[in-house]
Symmetry: C2
Subunit: 414 residues, 2 copies
């Protein structure tokens, strides 16, 4: 597991992990109750104080939701600028056709008017049930309240307001200290079902007070997403609403300069770290999850093959149920690896659960069941598999599969 | 759902679905307790009386189990002939290396000696836990009992002895009446986890008293498997031991003649029917399953695209949990279809649960919740989706995902 702490350097906020999205300078946020969900905060607004670059990656599902279509269009029209992001929970505004698109457009128009912003600088995201009309009047009625509530301290409420079946807020702050000065990144995300690699999964928003040109921001986001949210899986399904957006307002006075590779590398590393940590928080809070499983593949010929094996293991319901039961069932790990479509030699495989090696080449499986069970009973389990073919590695993150997942999803809509 | 009955024409056997594997003439079978599993029948033997053609399809998992390697080799050496099949439950003899291969070889050698058969005419299959040494002494001690118990009536015990976590036997009989005479096919299968398309999934054995040349038998089996076992999914995992074998001994006096297309078509249709019905029995008895879901895709441009959409829907845990809860959550069906990698137009989709249309083109979703819930509360649910693009169709079969699946798999090994 990562040894970094979410608050290695605190900024004096009252609760840890709170208001991360407004930790960078020049951002205000609010989370209010619009009545889309019962008795819970369900509408978040994030606003940047000055000219702000923006980049985003969206779902690849063909049934992309109305807010995804609108945000994608706005980023194109604005040339990669955005000053505000509106997010509602409780309704995905997906599979809602032309009326859904119209509702999304009216919501961003209202935000633009209230904040005196060009409408194309407002992004929008929705999460919740698919195929129900967005309750636009409620949302519009709540907007002025959200605008009035905007504050640096409002990041915590915003992080709460974007949740659906999530049990807890997902926030992360990362500081970057450089020769030209320091800047901060803050992120918030929501889970926790319909989560699978390769679709810019779920909702996540990152702010930074570094100045980053829009094109560079988009490049960094794409690579950071590939190394983080594209490597997590809860259940193999892909949402219609997945969005990761990053806003950079330069309020720190520090510029990430495309001409200085070290400056770009530092920013991209920090962005990747934020997204990996948010991604792990999403998995840890996956529907029904009781533990976080880090799948580490080593000894592959190349990273692509390592990743393919890691993803197949992370997606295997039999591996995930065994992890749930703390059952050292290495056979299921081997079976999953051997159907990943990679030319493996099963006899070369090594498998370890945490520090306990359970399988050595030639299918030698002598290990302490008690030690393996202890390793698998932790809240964070590392599952290692070495292919014995080369030097390439890859990691993915998943959670265990529990009866809780079924309970949550068998009657989500009704 | 299919309207055909498993026993449309009974052959006078005492219990329905019993001894199907020995319904064709000239086959005897036995199921005995060897002590590999506790207190349950765990060793099946199937023997054909005369010269018998054989064909088989096996797992594509690279960690193919020892019995798969031995059976594949025997079919090659014998040129597609087999007189006996030995099957044990309780131990997969997979990921067991050279000692596992040696154990599989010794078991078929013992069968060959007891039955005075060439060893390459004995096939072998195993199912159960992966990575544990096969308890060969117990198996060898039980073999003479199995040989003594061989009988036409022994098919029922054989169908019991091949089960693992299955709750019930899976058997099917099909009669073929032709101009040249009548013949019979009988099949048995086991499930019920690690089941997914495209890997000649699980264990299934089919006998027939038609005479079918080995090469033709292999062709028919490949196509029949593609239309049946390659279209079922329980959990998306693939076993190391998957085997479907078919034996044709000609005892009926009826020959399937490669030169007569009608004769081949009739045989292939019957074989496909047996495998589809066995496949549906496997799904219906999937780990934790409470209902069988038939996914019917229509309106596709070609069958490949229809199948791709059908498989993606059948594999979606969110669709499967909604079906478990009888929740008419058509949004999840649409979301799954739209990530299948097929160029769909989401606005053209139609969705129905049973007879209840829940979605019309343009995302028009007006329907009776009560009627939809009734349709979804049946033990057999048909999920229709029309893509509105063309005339091609495809079907797959899956089960709902329940808390029972998790309970069974969280502690299978220990």
């Amino acid at each position: 597991m990562s040894t970094s702490s979410p608050w290695a350097e605190t900024d004096g906020l009252e609760r840890p992990h709170a208001a991360a999205i407004t930790a960078p300078q020049g951002f205000r946020a609010a989370g209010v109750h619009a009545g889309i969900r019962k008795k819970r905060l369900d509408l978040a607004l994030l606003v940047s104080g000055g000219e702000t670059s923006a980049a985003a990656v969206f779902t690849r599902n063909l049934a992309a939701a109305a807010p995804v279509l609108v945000s994608r269009e706005h980023l194109r029209l604005s040339g990669g600028r955005a000053r505000a992001v509106l997010v509602n929970a409780g309704n995905a505004n997906a599979c809602t056709g032309e009326p859904g698109l119209e509702a999304a457009r009216r919501s961003v128009t209202a935000v633009a008017e209230l904040l005196s912003l060009p409408v194309e600088q407002v992004l929008v995201a929705s999460t919740g049930v698919i195929g129900q009309p967005l309750p636009l009047p409620r949302l519009l009625r709540a907007l002025p309240h959200a605008v009035r509530a905007l504050a640096r301290s409002g990041g915590a409420d915003a992080a709460t307001a974007i949740l659906t079946t999530d049990l807890r807020e997902k926030e992360w702050v990362q500081r970057v200290r450089g020769k030209n000065g320091n800047y901060t990144l803050g992120g918030m995300a929501k889970g926790s079902g319909m989560i699978h690699p390769d679709m810019a999964t779920t909702l996540a928003f990152v702010t930074t007070d570094a100045a980053v040109p829009a094109a560079l921001l988009q490049d960094c986001l794409r690579r950071a997403t590939d190394a983080s949210f594209n490597r997590i899986s809860v259940d193999g399904d892909t949402s219609t609403n997945d969005t990761i957006a990053v806003l950079a307002n330069g309020a720190s006075g520090v510029a990430v300069d495309p001409a200085l590779p070290a400056s770009v590398a530092a920013f991209e590393a920090a962005l990747t770290e934020v997204l990996i940590e948010l991604g792990k928080l999403v998995v840890r809070d996956g529907e029904g999850a009781t533990k976080l499983i880090e799948v580490c593949v080593s000894g592959a010929r190349d990273e692509g093959e390592a990743l393919q094996v890691a993803r197949t293991i992370a997606g295997s319901p039999l591996v995930k149920t065994a992890m749930h039961g703390a059952d050292a069932n290495w056979g299921r790990v081997v079976a999953a690896a051997c159907r990943a479509g990679v030319a493996l030699d099963p006899e070369r495989l090594r498998v370890a659960f945490g520090d306990v090696v359970v399988l050595r080449p030639g299918f030698v499986a002598r290990f302490s069941e008690a030690a393996a069970r202890r390793a698998l009973s932790r809240e964070e389990v590392t599952l290692h598999i070495d292919l014995g073919l080369g030097g390439a590695t890859a990691k993915t993150w998943t959670c265990d599969l529990s009866a809780g997942y079924v309970e949550i999803n068998a009657s989500y809509r009704t």
